[in-house]
């Protein structure tokens, strides 16, 4: 049967810049105009408007997860709001088979003066649950949130973490057919975030479709096999997350800028790895960098650096001499090819290889790194960390001779 859980076709949304209708004097004619206006707009704009979304379409079946990524201003939040019916598209159609819930704010509608229990009911009804449903699930919700001793205290006495947990506990007990999630899940500590991901996975297994909008690319890759990349409101890519993420990074890290008096110019940059779709710890890689010298250079240092994107942590850095290439004098016009080979024993995350040529006499702090290749390492066998230490765990009966009292 394969009916889609959600079908989005041809969404266009435009916004106006500046301020309108400051005074009541403009208000009444504007209303009259709006009541008569037809909705067949052209793709042109009048004056101060811009298209935040242009002809975006996709569909999802039950149990599927779609990630929506893109640079700031690409239209992700707008898309989410249109899907959540908070904004109305100028053109296009959304068809939802069943109930759609948006989690754009975890403690939505919480009122500070009401108790936790009262807020659960309020929040539940805001999210579309009937009172009977909330009654039924109340114990589950309270237990999930972990704020049971405080459930009858006004919410203004809660810490922000407690509020988030309570709000999430209500949302986690929803059973929508389509769930929209955005950065809201990035607040809260690690335990909370892990719980969020677990909950979402469970809902996927139960047949809900999830749309996840985020800047957290590893989280998107972990949850969603399919990704929609938005750029300037348009669909830049719709397909596998691996490719979507790579294309996103191409957009974001587009630096082929040469330093004004760089001694070399790139003739060739290529990357191959043994991983087929995602890179996994232990995959090998090969980077080839071709250079042509613009002038005679004596004993330059070719430096390769690998850094983790989320916090600019330098994972590895070395110069070619340390790796096996002896420095020498290069003539003007000479072309060389450097090949770097190795293994990626890293845990999941986004990483970037950088390369630069630095001269012995110069102050090398100012020589910029050229971004060679960005890649994403995918694995789920760790909570956090940088290096894959190939660790395993097993359980067995205690051995003879081990100290009985460990206290």
């Amino acid at each position: 049967m394969a009916e889609h859980a959600i079908e989005v076709s041809g969404i266009w949304k435009k916004f106006r810049r500046g301020q309108l209708h400051d005074s009541l004097r403009d208000f009444i004619p504007a209303i009259v105009r709006r009541l008569h206006k037809k909705n067949s707009e052209d793709a042109d704009l009048s004056g101060n408007s811009f298209w935040a979304l242009r002809d975006v379409s996709f569909h999802l079946g039950p149990g599927e997860a779609l990630g929506i990524i893109g640079p700031n201003g690409a239209g992700k939040s707008t898309m989410l709001k249109v899907l959540a019916r908070i904004l109305k598209p100028n053109m296009g159609r959304i068809k939802v088979n069943g109930r759609l819930n948006a989690l754009l704010e975890v403690a939505a509608g919480f009122h500070a003066d009401l108790t936790g229990r009262e807020n659960v009911y309020l929040n539940g009804s805001i999210l579309g649950m009937k009172k009977r449903e909330v009654d039924r699930k109340l114990d589950q919700i309270i237990e999930f949130s972990g704020v049971e001793p405080f459930i009858d205290t006004p919410v203004k006495r809660y810490s922000s973490g407690m509020q988030a947990r309570l709000g999430f506990a209500v949302a986690a007990n929803l059973d929508p057919d389509v769930l929209l999630v955005d950065e809201v899940l990035s607040v809260g500590d690690m335990q909370f975030q892990n719980r969020c991901v677990e909950t979402m996975n469970e809902k996927l297994k139960n047949g809900a479709a999830i749309i996840f909008v985020s800047h957290n690319l590893p989280a998107v890759a972990r949850l969603c096999p399919k990704t929609l990349l938005l750029h300037h409101g348009e669909t830049a890519f719709l397909g596998s997350s691996q490719e979507g993420i790579e294309r996103y990074m191409d957009l974001a890290y587009n630096s082929k800028i040469e330093h004004a008096d760089a001694p070399t110019v790139f003739t060739h940059v290529s990357w191959t790895s043994s991983g087929s779709d995602f890179i996994r710890p232990g995959d090998s890689f090969e980077i080839k960098v071709g250079l042509r010298f613009l002038r005679q250079v004596s004993h330059p240092a070719f430096e390769l650096m690998l850094e983790r994107i989320k916090d600019d942590l330098c994972v590895f850095a070395a110069n070619a001499q340390q790796l096996g290439v002896s420095p020498r004098i290069h003539e003007e016009g000479e072309e060389i090819l450097l090949t770097f080979k190795g293994k990626i024993n890293l845990l999941r995350g986004l990483y970037s290889f950088g390369f630069r040529v630095s001269l012995p006499s110069k102050d090398n702090e100012t020589v910029i790194w050229h971004s060679i290749h960005q890649f994403y390492v995918h694995e789920t066998a760790s909570l956090d960390g940088i290096v894959d230490i190939e660790c395993t765990a097993s359980e067995s009966q205690p051995e003879e001779g081990i100290i009985q009292n460990y206290a």
Binding site: D22, I86, G98, L114, E118, L122, D177
Partner: protein, 299 residues
């Protein structure tokens, strides 16, 4: 596991008439949320409030006392005496006036003070001004009970069959209030100074509405002009039917203190208010609903 029965199409549609069905359906669908929101509004008024339920009576009491004060001054200035029955009439009119004023006040701000909900979750926005009005109704109901006790228990105002006129009058008042609330909440979202204008209108409106005085005090022409205020027929109607036991289906001509005959009541006045209320209600609702989809952008 999910209700597959409901498919929803969110299209950008046009046309006024498909609206009505959609609008009504939505409110019915979200009626539980309306109840929860009203409950919320009522609860937050009374939590941590030193006066608790006393708030429900404070405003009407204040109006009645102010009215009595003015009347005493007027009576003294013109050399006459203050009639005791005046107090009862004023109480009957003070309560619905304070309902209207309170409901309008809260409704105007209902959208802007819930801006985070408006911009983050979808549900019909009519719920905000509606719950503000319903919460005010809760307060007023308490006040009415007390008023009934005072009027019928202590002031010996008899109960007659004409009291049934209260039903259409209250419905008319509700319709008018909800209509005004929808319109003003919407206006305040787009023009943030609407709430100040409303405050001013409320402050001075009491003088242009027969709360402190009766319509007869303005003379024959003045009375007719006063009745153009849609609240005037409602308030006067309430007074006439509850305190004066007058059947509103027939007119009433009274001799004013100046000696002239004033047509204090004509059934047409009630008809006028009802039509005004209905037109305002539907007109506001349509405008509100049409603009609803842009709220999140402008809030």
């Amino acid at each position: 596991m999910h209700n597959q029965s409901r498919q929803q199409y969110y299209e950008s549609r046009d046309g006024v008439f498909p609206f009505f069905r959609e609008m009504v359906q939505e409110i019915v669908q979200y009626r539980e949320l309306l109840f929860q929101m009203t409950l919320r509004d009522v609860r937050i008024r009374y939590k941590q409030a030193i006066m608790g339920f006393g708030w429900a009576l404070f405003m009407p009491m204040l109006i009645v006392v102010s009215g009595l004060l003015i009347r005493m001054v007027m009576a003294e200035m013109s050399g006459g005496k203050l009639a005791a029955a005046g107090a009862g009439s004023m109480m009957v009119k003070a309560l619905p006036w304070s309902f209207f004023v309170g409901a309008i006040g809260f409704a105007t701000n209902s959208l802007t003070s819930n801006s985070s909900l408006v911009s983050k979750i979808y549900f019909p926005r009519e719920i905000f001004p509606l719950s503000a009005t319903l919460a005010q109704m809760f307060d007023t109901t308490i006040g009415s009970i007390l008023l009934a006790v005072i009027l019928f228990g202590f002031m010996n105002v008899g109960i007659s069959i004409e009291i049934l006129w209260v039903v259409p009058l209250v419905l008319c008042l509700l319709t008018l209030t909800i209509g005004a609330g929808l319109l003003l909440s919407c206006a305040n979202l787009f023009f943030r100074d609407v709430k100040y204008i409303v405050q001013v209108l409320i402050t001075f409106g009491i003088f242009f509405t027969p709360v402190f005085y009766d319509a007869v005090n303005l003379g024959p022409v003045g009375c007719r002009i006063l009745m153009l205020n849609p609240l005037a027929p409602i308030l006067e109607g309430l007074r006439l039917s509850i305190v004066d036991h007058h059947n509103l289906a027939s007119s009433l001509v009274v001799a004013a203190a100046s000696g002239q005959n004033v047509a204090v009541w004509h059934p047409f006045y009630l008809l006028y208010s009802s039509i005004f209320a209905i037109v305002l209600f539907f007109g506001s609702w349509v405008i509100f609903h049409k603009l609803e989809s842009t709220f999140a952008e402008y809030i």
